[in-house]
Amino acid sequence: MRKSLNLLISIGIPLLILILPQSVFPFENFTIIEQRVVAIFFLAALFWVLEPIPIYATSVLIIVLELIMLTESSFILFQDNGNTEHFGIYLSYKEIMGTFASPIIMLFLGGFFLAMSATKYRLDQNLARVLLKPFGKNPKMVMLGLMSITAIFSMFMSNTATTAMMLSILTPVLAVFTPNDKGKVAFALAIPVAANIGGIGTPIGTPPNAIALKYLIGEDLITFSQWMGFGIPFVIILLLFAWVLLAVLFPIETKEINLDIKGKFLKSQKAIIVYITFSITILLWLTDFIHGMNSYVVALIPVAVFSALSIINKEDLKKLSWDVLWLVSGGIALGIALEKSGLALTAVESIPFENFPPLLIVVAASVLSLTMANFMSNTATANLLLPIIAALGTSLSSLDDIGGNKMLILAVTFAASMGMALPISTPPNALAHATGLIQTNQMTKVGLIVGLSGVLLTYLMLYIMNLINFF
């Protein structure tokens, strides 16, 4: 019942927008194409919030609807018959289809190949074992160790896969805790919190970052190494804060923890190739200013190496997270439609943002992003907000003094990764909640505090970046 109602709303409202007369819309020179983009945008927003179909399916739906309704190759009834005054300009169907293979997608594909090979040749498990050793047996230190490793891994692997791996390491340890020990909650929450935070550290850490890169072009360009230059310090500070917070909120009674991760580093030829390729790729990402290859080009190197040497074979290929790639593609396609149809600019210009204090705009945009990300997918949040934010950032000269478009996009992107107050906020949260060790209100408390502090810390970071003339 609820499901069919959701579906009805998600389809009904966009349809209504589509059939309304053009004069209803409060924009000057409003075109038919723009009206269709509004309808598709509302459809995307409603589908991503209410989820009548899986979120990646919504992305595919967006792309197909754009092709049918907005391009020079659209369905005959949607084509310009010459009788309409304000039809607008067609989008290029090649550009819409090209989103499936946009550089952003290739960057993620490269990341997937690295992550998959690391898992297949147990680099992740073995690194976790070695890196955890120095943290000893003191529960608080072990927790810090687990959080650091989770954060580091989630910078290069999917936050979900990292969480699943770390939780499986953690589960046998938590079994020896006494039933009333609140430390269990601290540990079970530490993993998803660290995974959510860690994703911010690199452009490939989490999809919202990659989507942001799509809008950070031209003079707003941010390279892989630059991103890590501000991302990593941010992750470290927020991670330490979260660690202290968890330790204070949920004191650990257990005196000693023994983490026993089995295994040894594989020394087969293929395993060694994986180690080398992994290191070289990261090194190339960090040194783009020396060798000239941008991060997208570098990302395809592991894809070629691992395919050629059968390290990732065709069975592995089938197991790639195509859904994540499609989710991002749909977002890019939505962005293209908003931008190329002119709607993003039209919408932004129809509201007199110049009259608002620029700081208020930054705060409002990031709080909106944080709020949305708590209730829906972080990626979908970025998909919906960033095209409009980018149009706002480029058109608003009042922002220039505090960092301009670049600053605004970063504020919104970071805020999108701070949505972690509910089990549904992110897949890591859902996984941790499914362990049964955490109550929703405990997760919400920690998620809200960490999320809000993260947004405040973002402001501080952007302020400092502006001081040192980064923007």
Binding site: R122, K264, L266, K267, S268, Q269, K270, A271, N313, K314, E315, D316
Partner: protein, 160 residues
């Protein structure tokens, strides 16, 4: 290229050599190893795995001194280093309870009773090797002697 292994486990030497002899048809493309106890087999599969090679199949007896066959296969089943390893229980002395455990916790792929029929053993092994090769994503065209046409078609028509 990685090597494939079949591990045979039985506490009786003569049984082991009979199995190995029966399976010698496969020997051009894989290595057959004989172990007299679960402990020995555990050490061996650990070594094969760390060299980056594949434990394609384990054929184990059940009643043995030390760890039983079903216990051993259950451990292998839980071990994420061997997700696709095919498991055959070859025994004459399993109780009803053992058989239940073999299916439920060891997820064995085939149950063969002693004394076994050579043709039947070869056929089962071939069928399971085909599944191992396809599940692992190895190139089945490189192993014509190890793959069973019927199983190959069956899997390929579903998954390409």
């Amino acid at each position: 290229m990685e090597k494939l292994y079949i591990i045979c486990v039985d506490d009786q030497r003569e049984v082991l050599s009979t199995i190995a002899k029966d399976l010698s048809v496969f020997e051009n493309d894989l290595t057959i190893e004989e172990c007299e106890s679960a402990a020995e087999a555990e050490e061996l599969i650990d070594e094969i795995d760390s060299e980056g090679n594949f434990v394609a199949m384990i054929i184990s007896d059940h009643v043995m001194p030390g760890k039983s066959g079903v216990e051993f296969l259950s451990d292998v089943n839980k071990d994420d280093r061997f997700p696709n390893t095919q498991k055959i229980l070859l025994t004459g002395l399993a109780t009803h309870q053992d058989t239940i455990a073999a299916i439920n916790s060891a997820s064995i792929n085939q149950y063969l009773e002693k004394p076994w029929n050579k043709e039947e053993l070869i056929k089962s092994v071939k069928k399971l090797l085909t599944q191992f090769i396809l599940k692992t994503g190895l190139d089945y065209q490189k192993y014509p002697t190890l793959t069973d046409q019927e199983t190959l078609f069956e899997i390929l028509k579903k998954h390409g």
